[in-house]
């Protein structure tokens, strides 16, 4: 059974990579089931573009997907890619098994802020600590979107969510700082408002030997935007307004050095934070194995 290709004669593909994804193949459009204003459509389009431009072998770059709204991105990643949908938060652990069982592979892990920093925090820390050759794309929309807008570990202080009475007063968790502390060797953060930067980072991460973590700040209009206001006290219920808010709150890391801690409290510091070569787990293990097999 091959995916049925429905053609719309009068409709041109919106994007040159449209027909790469399973959803695109089936509908002829860049099809997605995300809400209006969601950033995942942008991310997956860029992801597909990088996948094609870099000529990635689908057999060598399996896509390991966690649980969240982006799980539906299953239909938006290249149709030829091999994807495994795991349990909530367990994608890094499953990728570890895949990588060790077949060291020729480089898993690309798609995970979200609740998935990676909440329920799967421990697995994420230890993936970074081992410096296992893999790419982690951490989609940060500051909220639990799929379950309906509950507070996430990354929700900024002062926001309103479905499961906080009044404003959020918990400290928020910084995925980049966590990855740096845990020992990931390529760490960067960008937003969907910076598509070229994202593609640039992703290409670098794919070539980097070791754990690469790219946090992508992405808008959730339905559950974060609608319940929160921007600096002009305007409800951020459209994709544009929330994207503007993200842009306004994104500070490049070289500029961030000039800002005080209080000023950075509600900002997303973007840019590259670390790029270094350190022993990679599976390569080191192969050495151990070789020695054991000879000895």
């Amino acid at each position: 059974m091959s995916p049925q290709i429905t053609t719309f004669p009068n409709e041109k593909p919106e994007h040159p990579v449209t027909l790469l994804s399973m959803g695109g193949l089936m509908t002829g459009n860049f099809w997605s089931m995300f809400c209006g204003g969601c950033g995942y459509g942008i991310i997956f389009q860029l992801f597909d573009k990088v996948f094609v431009e870099e000529k990635l072998d689908p057999f060598k770059y399996p896509v390991i997907i966690g649980i969240g709204c982006y799980t539906q991105g299953n239909t938006l990643v290249p149709a030829a890619s091999q994807r495994v949908t795991t349990l909530h938060g367990r994608a890094p652990a499953m990728a570890t098994g895949i990588k060790l069982a077949n060291p020729a592979m480089k898993p690309i892990i798609l995970t979200g802020d609740g998935d990676c920093l909440g329920i799967g925090g421990n697995h994420f820390i230890h993936l970074c600590r081992r410096n296992l050759d893999s790419v982690v794309l951490l989609f940060n929309n500051s909220i639990y979107g799929m379950t309906g807008g509950q507070v996430a570990p990354t929700t900024p202080q002062g926001s309103s969510t479905m499961t906080t009475l009044g404003a959020v007063f918990e400290n928020r968790l910084d995925g980049v700082k966590l990855a740096l502390a845990a020992g990931a060797t390529y760490v960067a953060r960008t937003t969907v408002a910076h598509p070229r930067t994202f593609m640039h980072y992703l290409k670098k991460a794919i070539k980097h030997a070791g754990t690469s973590v790219i946090e992508v700040v992405t808008p959730c209009v339905t559950y974060f935007g609608r319940k929160n206001v921007n600096d002009a006290s305007q409800r951020m219920d459209t994709g544009g307004l929330l994207l503007e808010w993200i842009k306004a709150h994104a500070v490049w890391n070289n500029q961030a050095k000039l800002l005080s801690e209080a000023e950075l409290a509600d900002k997303y510091v973007i840019g590259e934070f670390r790029e270094e070569d350190r022993p990679e787990y599976s390569a080191e293990y192969e050495k151990v194995k070789k020695k054991a097999m000879e000895g």
Binding site: M1, S2, P3, M22, F59, K60, P62, I64, N74, A79, Q82, R83, V84, T85, T86, L87, R90, P92, A93, M94, A95, T96, G97, I98, L100, A101, N102, A104, M105, N122, H123, I125, H126, Y285, V288, K289, A292, M293, G295
Partner: protein, 392 residues
Amino acid sequence: MENESKRYMAPGKHVLMGNVAMAEGAMAAGLTFFGGYPITPSTEVPEHLVWRLPEAGGAFIQMEDELAAINSVAGASVAGAKAMTATSGPGTSLMAETISMAAAMEIPLVICDVQRNGPGTGLVTAPHHNDVFQCKYSGNGEYEVIAYAPMSCQELYDLTIEAFNAAETYRCPTYVLSDAYLGHLHEPVVIPTAEEVKKLVVARAILDKPNQEKFTFLDREGNIQIPPAPVLGTPNFPTTFISQPHGPDGIPVNEDQVLKPNTLLVEKITKNVEKIARTEAYMLDDAEVVIIAYGLTARVCYHVVNLARKEGLKAGLFRLVTIWPFPYERVKSVVAGAKAIVVPEMNLGLMAGEVERCKPLAMPMYKVPKIADIHEPGEILAVVRKAKEAHP
């Protein structure tokens, strides 16, 4: 990468610890990945495999917790490795989530559960067959597992090989249920030659051609047939590999179509019970008192039957080598002609409930519970005598 010269243990008689025999059984079965987390009383399994696996070309990793351990095992199995983990009761409960996922995605994997006393932390070095229900019922959803209950170090070796074969054939989580005493027992184990072992082992089937008919992992129209597990990085991998209920192409289905895939997950095991279930009968032909036992307790019961026969008591033993899937039909036929049933267990009587489902309502059943220690033959024998006296 495979180093066959170091995979198999030298043939002949070895004195092995139970946990080591289990690890060697896994090696013989073609283990290529072990992901674990240390927990008493199973620690000797990772301690043995940490050097045995790499020299044979496999991979060993100690993960950060049991959740990660079982997920790495599932991941390795998806990538084509024969994978297992070793744990105890508390670890198994943490793994429940992923075991349920593995059942849904039909990922073959083996879990060696060296059972210890519970609930909670329990007495960590004391045996207690309290995971016999946990191993099947701990995860969410309806699914079936296969569980072996060995009673000697030799069986730990042999049945671990069988467990791997069953996992490959039926594509479901498979348990080897050892316990703290059995795991630390040192006994002679006869290791067969590498050629003999190779004949026993069911290898992972890898389809080399993209074949839509064959790669489907729930395509069982009419007769239930289980296609080989898809391997990541080969052309036979489905469009999407997901733990949601899915159709033959791997694409998730809706509420109105979910009945079939969920039923098939259960029926692939329940309809093959006669093939999967392994039982042993000892002096059952004329038995009036039937003892039903499994695991280390069954070993005591062989002696109990001998003692009872010396006294002229017509006792017999029906031993469950696999406890899941439970062989209801076999147990029904065994207890049909009996006057009384005795169910000694190293717990308060868990499997006795399953036996109760098979016996006629009026038939008396005696439980012989024991916790954190092995039964004395006399304890069971006393109950056999009592049963015989009450129902002559």
